[in-house]
């Protein structure tokens, strides 16, 4: 029993140390990336670049926030990019049928809530594995977008709204989607780190059984997380549609894994229970800045993948490497 207790205490301390280290490492990486960008392109750190970085990362970054909460509980949502596509398709279809734009946007958000609720009920109530369910709804929601919109591309959205893809918020160099992301990040951060609900999410991720016995309404919380994720992804779909001033059924195809990578690179454990919003925000900043720097160096997007993938790999291997080396050494000693 005593050893178990010691292990737990050690684990707790290691966890805390790991957290501190990971976010500080991300800050250092971010500074490094900024220096790298400045060396490669003169005047890299200018407001215009900041605007475009925000514009490029906006939708993916926004979707990463609710996904962080879902991954914290040990579940996953792979349907995010399809939800984004479906909401854009709903909005485009209704708008092209003469609905007022605001009603079309509201309908897209409702569709997002319904899509999220379907995920949530299947995962929490029916008890199906979330990775399988959301691969299913990934296909289903994209399929519905296809039925709704293909092969058309809807354009002609009001210029007063589509300008969010061209100009920053007046008087600043901040893209609208950046502002939305930062506001949502603050809200998500407060929920996760400063409310009983947020502590509940952590407990669900670490010890689902214990969470249930502690009176945390695990299933209800999970369903609501998926509903929120659906709504936020729908909102990202609306932003993307307005930014592009057009929408077709395949908007955002394949983005789901980018969103997952963003969350994991931010130091959120895929097994749940560990991670911070600060980490995710830093992850967004690093990958966005890096992408901007590489694009300005004319590195093609496929090759940029090497850097993103390499960072993701390093981010999980390094925190585990000390233990791995110890294990290998132990084994070598036992053989001798």
């Amino acid at each position: 029993m005593t050893t178990g207790h010691n292990d737990a205490a050690k684990g707790g301390r290691a966890l805390w140390r790991g957290l501190v280290r990971w976010e500080s490492a991300l800050v250092i990486v971010l500074i490094g990336v900024m220096i790298f960008g400045s060396i490669q392109t003169p005047n890299f750190l200018n407001p215009t670049n900041f605007f475009y970085t925000g514009l490029n990362m906006g939708e993916v970054a926004i979707m990463a926030l609710p996904l962080t909460l879902i991954i914290m509980t040990g579940e996953i949502d792979l349907s995010v990019a399809s939800m984004l596509g479906l909401s854009g398709a709903v909005m485009g279809e209704l708008f092209s049928n003469g609905w007022p734009i605001w009603l079309a946007i509201a309908a897209a958000l409702v569709v997002g809530a319904i899509g999220g609720a379907i995920n949530g009920v299947l995962v929490a109530k029916v008890g199906l594995p979330s990775i399988a369910v959301t691969i299913g709804t990934l296909t289903l929601y994209r399929g519905l977008a296809l039925i709704l919109l293909a092969p058309r591309t809807i354009t002609g959205f009001p210029a007063s709204l589509t300008q969010i893809g061209v100009v920053p918020i007046p008087g600043t160099e901040v893209a609208y989607s950046t502002a939305v992301f930062l506001a949502l990040a603050v809200v998500t951060g407060i929920i996760l780190h400063a409310t009983p609900l947020g502590r509940g999410l952590v407990v669900i991720g670490l010890q689902p059984e214990a969470a249930k016995f502690a009176g945390i309404r695990v299933n209800r919380i999970k369903i609501w997380l998926y509903v929120v994720s659906g709504i936020v992804c729908a909102f990202a779909g609306i932003l993307l549609t307005l930014k592009n001033a057009s929408v077709s059924y395949d908007a955002g195809t394949g983005l789901e894994l980018n969103v997952v990578a963003l969350v994991l690179f931010g130091g959120v454990s895929i097994f749940g229970g560990r991670g911070t919003i600060v980490g995710v925000v830093l992850s967004v900043a690093i990958l966005g800045t890096l992408q901007q720097a590489l694009t300005q160096m004319n590195v093609q997007p496929e090759v940029q993948n090497i850097v993103s993938g390499g960072l993701l790999l390093i981010s999980v291997v390094i925190p585990n490497s000390g233990e791995a080396i110890r294990r290998i050494r132990d084994r070598a000693r036992r053989r001798v």
Partner: protein, 324 residues
């Protein structure tokens, strides 16, 4: 054959039968050949994915491996006119095996969740592919006829593609039932602690599963090239989730411990049959994806219902025993 595989087999026959009633051309040889060729690649990747899924891991890098190995082989043919066809296949398998070995090593040595490792590899391998391809494409002219023949020629009316994959499925299916090492995979996936206590070398087995999955994805790249006779940077993009979907439809549990390669292969055939059936029934092909998604959800829910029923019947059996 277990009930699960039989169920999918019946579903394939029903979809096929109904479509043929509606459109007699669906039962033509050419149409069936097309159906088999289309399903073959996903079925092949499904075999490797099953080995990995059974151990409660996942391999998201298969789509990128297909793209990279296809391009490397294509590029070799382009620059070495006389290269034998067999060499193309060997190179493809080696490329895949190397990436699979990296997946396996990082997952087992560093004990990093395989979802993260293979997600990272998905990006890295696609990036390497982009670096090699560098905006070019390999066109049919630079690939030997004998190689592309694998993609379109048939033996006794059966496409070579389908024969190759069927051999792999049969071999892997036999191995997964009868070999001790492959039974270990199921033990690792269903109860890792018990597997460790039973002295199963879990790390070595998981490594081998990733190695084989990578090698088969590499072979898949060669078949992709043979089938399409051309390749650019996007080849194989997005296959990973289709393959996992085929496995899940085929009854492979996403959290390990159960499922067969035959089930995964049949899952791939069923998904492709539905695709082709929609085309033949002149239903707009726009319905494909939504139906595939709904089918996937149904399959998962059905599996859950089945396992609950089995658990309940086991429980009541135990209760009855105690009463005696």
């Amino acid at each position: 054959m277990r009930a699960r595989e039989l169920g999918i087999g019946v579903a394939i026959v029903v979809v096929f039968g109904l479509t043929t009633l509606n459109n007699h051309a669906f039962a033509q040889i050419a149409s069936i050949q097309q159906l088999l060729s289309g399903a073959a690649l996903i079925a092949l990747l499904g075999v490797g994915e099953t080995l990995v899924l059974v151990t409660n891991n996942v391999d998201l890098s298969v789509g990128s491996i297909v793209g990279l190995s296809a391009y490397i082989v294509g590029d070799l043919f382009k620059h070495n006119q006389g290269m034998p066809v067999v060499a193309g296949f060997i190179v493809a398998i080696v490329v895949g095996a190397v990436i699979g070995a990296i997946n396996g090593l990082v997952t087992t040595v560093a004990r990093v969740p395989s979802l993260v490792v293979t997600l990272a590899m998905l990006y890295i391998v696609r990036g390497l592919d982009g670096l090699l391809v560098n905006g070019t494409t390999i066109d049919p002219g630079s690939i030997p006829k004998a190689f592309t023949a694998v993609g379109y020629q048939t033996l006794f009316g059966i496409p070579w593609l389908a024969i190759i994959v069927a051999v792999v499925v049969a071999g892997a299916g036999y191995a997964m039932r009868s070999f001790r090492a492959s039974r270990d995979l199921y033990a690792i996936g269903s109860n890792p602690d018990a597997a460790a206590l039973a002295g199963i070398p879990a790390e070595r087995r998981v490594f081998t599963a990733f190695l084989i999955s990578g090698a088969l994805a590499g072979l898949g790249g060669a078949l992709f090239l043979a089938l399409h006779a051309q390749i650019d940077v996007s080849g194989g993009t997005g296959y990973e989730l289709t393959v996992i979907a085929a496995c899940v439809v085929g009854g492979v549990a996403i959290f390990g411990g159960s499922g067969t390669v035959l089930g995964a292969a049949l899952g791939a055939v069923l998904l492709n049959t539905i695709n082709q059936a929609l085309v033949a029934s002149r239903v707009s092909s726009f319905w494909n994806e939504a139906i595939a998604g709904a089918l996937l959800l149904t399959a998962i829910a059905f599996d859950r219902w089945l396992s609950l029923r089995v658990a309940r019947s086991l429980q009541s059996a135990k209760g009855a025993h105690r009463a005696l």
